[in-house]
């Protein structure tokens, strides 16, 4: 075994240099050409960064479209899901509370129309998106609070729907941050 140790140590040194120094440096250099320069794609309003396109943020006010429940309250310093099992009674209680809260804030929406994603926490706690149905179900509330017609809002949401990849693969989604920025500019 001894005769393999010296080459092993030398090889380790060389590979740390190659794989943990040169390789990440190369990727960082290439990333400078990418949108966001490899630091993540930011979104600005009036020249001020208000968030990252891909990182969900919390909206509690009724005047905004609200994202999904988050186990970390959208604190992007960390990330986590709830890790609650489907049969967990505590979890079922939490979901029931979310349903009740939603119904209280969205009068006129029947219980069976609530999309599951609005009462279940996302995997990362930072989910930036909603499905079109989950955005549309909030139109009535936002319209009422903002005094904008529902048609106009529905049109805005529809405009913000990103279809499946190449039109064939994956779900459609709506980026909540971008939708809300557009909402603020809509008078």
């Amino acid at each position: 075994m001894k005769k393999y140790f010296l080459p092993s140590i030398k090889l380790t040194l060389l590979l740390v240099l190659l794989l943990a120094v040169l390789y990440p440096a190369l990727i960082a250099a290439v990333a400078k050409l990418a949108p966001g320069g490899g630091k993540g794609k930011t979104v600005s309003v009036n020249g001020k960064v208000v968030g990252y396109e891909n990182v969900g943020q919390q909206f509690t006010a009724d005047k905004y479209f609200q994202g999904r429940p988050s186990a970390v309250n959208y604190n992007a310093a960390g990330s986590a899901g709830s890790n609650k099992g489907a049969s967990n009674p505590d979890y079922q209680k939490t979901v029931q509370e979310r349903i009740d809260t939603f119904l209280a804030h969205n009068p006129g929406i029947p219980k069976e129309d609530i999309p599951a994603e609005l009462v279940t926490a996302s995997g990362s706690g930072l989910d930036p998106d909603l499905s079109p149905a989950a955005a549309l179900v909030q139109v009535k509330r936002v319209a009422a609070v903002r005094g904008i017609s529902e048609q106009k809002l529905t049109a805005l949401v529809t405009e913000h729907i990103q279809g499946p990849l190449m039109g064939i693969a994956g779900p459609s989604k709506v980026n909540v941050l971008k939708l809300n920025i557009a909402l603020d500019t809509l008078k």
Partner: protein, 570 residues
């Protein structure tokens, strides 16, 4: 057809389309015939010269294992100490602390053995330096170690009677220079252009649209995320792993990542067929593995897409199982990922497995319990080889011949090794889970950092599943978890650390030893009475052996976990 289902099918087809030529290429790399990456040879020659390696020196299987264990020992010591003192080292913009010794022990082993169980969260548990020089580094070399080990199997059956099985260091270095590094560079570039960070800047502070002040974790993540998947490692940069929107920003990166983790295990199967000039054997092995994959995939898709019946009881119509899942991936792509990541020992997640439906949880665990459908980098095929030897033995008898594989007799010595390896995995998992169950049941208040009573994020059978999953994942070197489990304490850090290291090296040494012993044996030419191992019938036999040995041993445990939960929920 629904675009979410189409997405899954397209993903699988693309995987196959890439894996097949890649397999051909890998066979060429190990045969030493010219390939497009020959521009790497000056670098390789420099490495050989610098390290004092004679690439022409052929090793027997024992020398292979000696070399493998030696270099792994070097890495273990290195990783442990760097993690222990990481706060004193540079490149720590977020000011993260040192690891506790038990956590450093667990983490060093976890990445050394290609498991990537994480009892810490990337954002706060590591520094940028350790993410790179420990985590990323180990993700490359542990994957290459597995491939170098399976290369011995290739050599053992490519020639008639031989003791010379190539050089460990050559296989290892070529795996990095010719396979892992080029593919990682391509993949990392795809990721950065889709929004994954790659710069060395620390956390960013922003004020959100609503006016909250939040910090956003970042870092040179793209390179690590590339090898994390290509090397079937699975340890995430961020705590939420590939569910995190910076680690996996959209459906395209999701496809890239799930394809990247499957192509090499799949390609190695084809490479085996090409290398030993028995393509059909490669195809049959691939077929069996795909059948195994579907056995777990189909129930998972149905159970996940069926939604959570508890939501229906609350009066909802849409009962999608969206807990722990991301909107941009949707349920089918998350279910597909759940199965793939568990059968191939990656263990990265794009949804929280703890929150998946009970039946899906059972399938995820079965994926790790069988641990050979495609399987981990190199080790998947090695695990499969063990079951194949057992299948050869039983079917050989069934056709009235003392069993042989590839012209070599399978005798008591090989059976002994195969039997030990086959029972080793259930042994580690069941004994580990029994130990934790014992503490949870009889000593709930023991004074560990997390008391056993507080281990569980979910009560009852699901809590049992959390323990079972943790040990299964550790022994299968998978690394995913039912992450609700409070595992950063001395019990889990030490117990899973020991299980991981045993679950790695014993199942590598066993099959390589069998291959090495068989390679030395007299070659017996085929006759009409010889059992053909490249037929569908034999494939079915192997499948049955895997299911019966690997899955049945866990049936009672699964009954107390996800199966009981299933019957309670539905």
């Amino acid at each position: 057809m629904n675009s979410e289902i189409t997405g899954v099918i397209v993903t699988f087809i693309l995987t196959l389309l890439i894996a097949f030529p890649l397999g051909k290429y890998i066979a060429k790399v190990f045969q030493g015939t010219p390939t497009v990456t020959d521009f790497m040879s000056p670098l390789e020659r420099f490495i050989y010269r610098f390290c004092g390696i004679d690439p022409q020196k052929e090793m027997n299987w024992k020398q292979h294992m000696m070399a493998l264990l030696s270099i792994n020992l070097v890495w273990l010591v290195y990783a442990f100490f760097v993690l222990l003192f990481q706060s004193h080292l540079p490149l720590n913009p977020d000011g993260n602390p040192d690891m506790t010794p038990d956590l450093a022990f667990n983490t060093a082993i976890s990445f050394l053995v290609n498991c990537n169980l994480q009892h810490y969260s990337g954002e706060s548990g590591l520094t940028y330096l350790t993410q790179l020089i420990v985590i990323t580094f180990l993700q490359f070399v542990s994957a290459a170690t597995g491939v170098a080990a399976v290369a011995v199997l290739f050599r053992a059956f490519a020639e008639k009677t031989t003791e010379k099985l190539g050089n460990f260091f050559v296989f290892f270095i070529k795996t990095i220079t010719r396979i892992l590094l080029p593919l990682s560079i391509i993949m990392a570039i795809i990721l950065v252009f889709n929004g994954t960070p790659a710069s060395f800047d620390g956390k960013d502070s922003i004020v959100t649209l609503q006016g909250d002040s939040v910090q956003v974790s970042r870092g040179p993540a793209a390179g690590m995320i590339a090898i994390k998947h290509l090397g079937t490692n699975g340890g995430g940069w961020f705590g939420a792993n590939s569910a995190h929107p910076l680690e996996n920003p959209d459906y395209l990166t999701n496809m890239t990542e799930i394809i990247a983790q499957v192509i090499l295990p799949m390609a190695l199967i084809f490479a085996f067929g090409f290398f030993i000039r028995r393509r059909k054997l490669g195809y049959v092995i691939f077929g069996v593995m795909t059948l195994g994959m579907l056995t777990f995939m189909i129930p998972t898709l149905f159970s996940e897409m069926g939604g959570n019946p508890a939501l229906a009881h609350m009066g909802l119509k849409d009962i999608s199982a969206m807990e722990g899942k991301e909107v941009r991936f949707g349920v089918p792509a998350s279910a597909y990922w759940q199965v793939m990541t568990t059968i191939i020992s990656t263990g990265s997640v794009n949804s929280m497995h703890d929150s998946s439906m009970p039946l899906s949880g059972a399938m995820q665990m079965l994926g790790m319990m069988t641990n050979c459908f495609y399987g981990g980098k190199g080790v998947g095929l090695l695990n499969y080889f063990i079951f194949l030897i057992i299948a050869v033995f039983i079917s050989g008898l069934m056709v009235g011949r003392t069993p042989e594989f590839m012209g070599r007799k399978v005798e008591a010595k090989e059976m002994k090794i195969a039997a030990i390896i086959a029972l080793f995995h259930p042994f580690l998992v069941l004994v580990g889970t029994a130990l934790s169950s014992y503490f949870a049941a009889h000593h709930p208040q023991i004074g560990w950092a997390v008391q056993p009573a507080a281990w569980f994020n979910n009560p009852g059978h699901h809590g049992f599943s959390e323990m079972l999953y943790e040990f299964t994942s550790a022994s299968a070197n998978n690394g995913s978890g039912f992450e609700g489990l409070g595992d950063n304490n001395i019990f889990w850090n030490i117990s899973t650390g020991v299980v991981m290291i045993l679950g790695r090296f014993i199942p590598i040494i066993g099959p390589v030893a069998i291959a090495g012993i068989m390679a030395k044996k007299k070659y017996i030419p085929e006759s009409a009475g010889t059992l053909q191992t490249d037929t569908a019938t034999f494939g079915i036999m192997t499948y049955a052996v895997i299911m019966i040995i690997a899955a049945l041993a866990f049936f009672p445990a699964l009954t107390l976990g996800p199966i009981a939960e299933y019957f309670q929920l539905y």
